[in-house]
């Protein structure tokens, strides 16, 4: 029996026999319907999961929220012992650690991306970027363990005193420094978000057409001038997307931060003082929370965190998608 259909299809033997088998099957309406139902079923289950997530988080936090109202968001005291639950100070902590982490990550990440995309020799860029990408695979608990056991003494004894003695910025680091601190948490966050920043920035830079670089070089620019003035500005929206998504990731990180930040829900007097974030508070407080209001309040913290991260991530995804549409075609505006 010759296979008449082989001329139509590509080489794969599996595919050919698969299609033949599919064709030889009797076509039944029932079978077709069953497949469609099953497909819709998969999609529906996923949709149900998303909806259920929102409802259950909202529902379980309702007790806490109805008690404090919207004030929960910015009420500045988190003191379970006194029965006071307010997310404000924790939001501040989240934003602070994220901001300091970004100060570290954005320059290093962008510089690394520029190195990988524009300046490194070909044989180096590939393996190096794979290595940096492997950092993303490291579980956050391992980073947290390393931060807790290895970094804490180093920071307390060497790094923080050194930073406190710096001429211009020293004041940021003065104050108590016995280990767990906002600074340490920010560094741990930086380590965890660096691969994201590098990978996305590198993609953004590589997406800039070669013609832009050549245009700059053809005018007499040096290689660095071409990168700085022609390539990086053209990749601006992709880089913004990278930063936004890194911020989203940093805000949501809880375990590693909980292990190194010292769990003190109060405004830190310096970067070397302990603090707390939404994520770290949830981790640290959950086990001891009194059932009912206590648990509900911890879950309400989760709701706040969810809102924050979803907003930031949605923004980042939108930036990623819109990134390409910069350059107008040759048939642009009216002549």
């Amino acid at each position: 029996m010759s296979s008449d259909t082989t001329g139509v299809l590509p080489r794969e033997g599996v595919a050919v026999s698969g299609v033949r088998a599919a064709l030889l099957q009797k076509r039944t309406r029932l079978g077709e319907h069953a497949y469609t139902v099953v497909r819709w079923g998969g999609a529906a289950v996923f949709a149900a999961v998303v909806v259920a997530l929102l409802i259950s988080v909202a529902g379980s936090s309702s007790q806490a929220l109805t008690r404090s109202g919207v004030g929960f968001l910015w009420s500045g005291t988190w003191n379970p012992a006194a029965g006071e639950y307010g997310a404000g100070i924790l939001v501040v902590g989240t934003l602070l650690t994220t901001a300091v982490a970004m100060v570290i990550v954005v320059p290093i990440g962008l510089g690394t991306a520029a190195f990988l995309s524009e300046l490194a020799p070909g044989w180096l860029a590939g393996p190096l970027s794979t290595l940096i990408g492997l950092l993303a695979a490291v579980p956050s608990i391992v980073v947290g363990l390393w931060g807790l056991i290895v970094l804490t003494p180093i920071f307390a004894n060497q790094v923080e005193p050194f930073l406190a003695s710096m001429p211009l910025l020293g004041w940021l680091f003065r104050g108590e420094a016995y280990g767990p601190s906002v600074l340490l948490a920010s560094v741990v966050l930086a380590v965890m978000t660096l691969p994201t920043m590098v990978a996305l920035s590198r993609t953004a830079l590589a997406a800039v057409p070669v013609a832009d670089r050549e245009a700059a070089l053809a005018l007499g620019a040096t290689r660095w001038q071409a990168v700085r003035k022609a390539v990086i500005p053209a990749a601006r929206s992709g880089i913004q997307a990278a930063v936004t998504l890194a911020v989203g990731r940093a805000m949501g990180e809880s375990i590693a931060v909980a292990m190194v930040i010292g769990n003190r829900p109060a405004l830190p007097t310096s970067l070397t003082a302990p603090g707390a974030t939404l994520g770290s508070a949830i981790v640290n407080q959950f086990a001891e929370a009194s059932p009912g209001l206590g648990t509900s309040s911890v879950i309400a913290l989760g709701a706040v965190l969810l809102l924050l991260t979803v907003a930031v991530n949605a923004g980042g995804q939108a930036l990623l998608r819109s990134g390409g549409g910069h350059r107008a075609g040759t048939a642009g505006a009216l002549r």
């Binding site: 057409p209 832009d212 005018l219 620019a221 040096t222 107008a328």
Partner: protein, 293 residues
């Protein structure tokens, strides 16, 4: 920077002399007499350009006369663009190699003492597809080359931009939208913007790589007019696969065809009129008659 061969500025009197000679040459050309009074702007001798092991074009010996339009013509794949990019050392960035000698006046373009950045200011380039910098406005695009080369001063930049835009026949169109994004212009306008940008750094030679291939006929005609006018100030080397364009616009032409081993080679070069009407090489005759390529 001792020993930098590009460091010597031309005395003003020599410049005036050259312009007078060029003007005589130009007027002589319109009567069909090529001039040999001025030294060529660019000289190529035995040039071979390769990508790694693969040779794209070989054995090119050609003199590009100053302040005229020289067209490199021939079917695609014959190495014309590759040769062009070797002249301003853009080929450096593709990991290929260049053999033979390329000279800008007396200066060896690939000499050990020669700085590519300075050569590229003196030999400008306009690309096949218009490529204005998307993150910059019209004005910023035009002066970008000046800024790269360390020219400061708003008044100077403004004057240079206005002059360049005038030369590119774009001033009237954009004078009221200098601060708007450059990508908002039409294709033909963007290409003229790229020409203005290249002119702003005062090059001596302008390399144009099929500048009209991405444009419609009306925009093409405007740019062809422009090219003829620009040649009064700047030597132009134009790559085109359109014979009629070459016939319309160029004073001298060089025909490139594929050799037997699929490597591009220079078949014949000379005054455009002669090349098209009385070609010396049978292969040129075949190409011009449309029998080949």
């Amino acid at each position: 920077m001792s020993g930098d061969p590009i460091a010597r500025p031309e005395p003003l009197s020599l410049v005036a002399e050259q312009r007078a000679a060029a003007n005589t040459a130009a007027s002589a050309l319109t009567h069909g007499h090529p001039s040999s009074a001025t030294p060529p702007a660019v000289t190529l001798e035995g040039v071979q350009v390769s990508f790694g092991d693969h040779v794209a074009v070989r054995n090119v010996t050609l003199a590009i006369p100053a302040r005229q339009v020289t067209a490199l013509i021939g079917p695609s794949g014959c190495g014309k663009t590759t040769l062009l990019r070797a002249i301003n050392r853009l080929h450096d960035h593709t990991g290929g190699s260049v053999e033979g000698s390329i000279k800008l006046g007396d200066i060896d373009v690939y000499g050990a003492d020669t700085r590519p950045e300075l050569i590229r200011r003196r030999i400008g380039m306009v690309f096949q597809r218009p490529n204005p910098f998307p993150a910059m406005s019209v004005f910023e695009n035009v002066v970008s080359g000046l800024r790269f080369n360390g020219v400061r001063g708003r008044a100077l930049l403004r004057d240079a931009a206005e002059s360049a835009l005038h030369h590119a026949a774009l001033w009237d169109t954009v004078k009221d939208r200098l601060n708007q994004p450059a990508v908002g212009l039409s294709g033909g306008q963007q290409q003229r913007l790229c020409i203005a940008r290249a002119l702003a750094v005062e090059p001596e030679v302008l390399l144009m790589d099929e500048p009209c291939s991405a444009l419609d006929p009306i925009a093409t005609a405007k740019i062809e007019n422009l090219i003829t006018r620009l040649a009064a100030d700047v030597t132009i080397v134009l790559v085109t696969h359109n014979m009629f364009q070459a016939a319309r616009v160029s004073d001298q032409a060089a025909v490139f065809l594929l050799g037997e081993d699929r490597v591009g080679e220079l078949v014949e070069a000379g005054a455009t009129d002669e090349l098209f009407h009385e070609p010396k090489n049978p292969r040129t005759r075949d190409y011009v008659a449309g029998r080949v390529g």
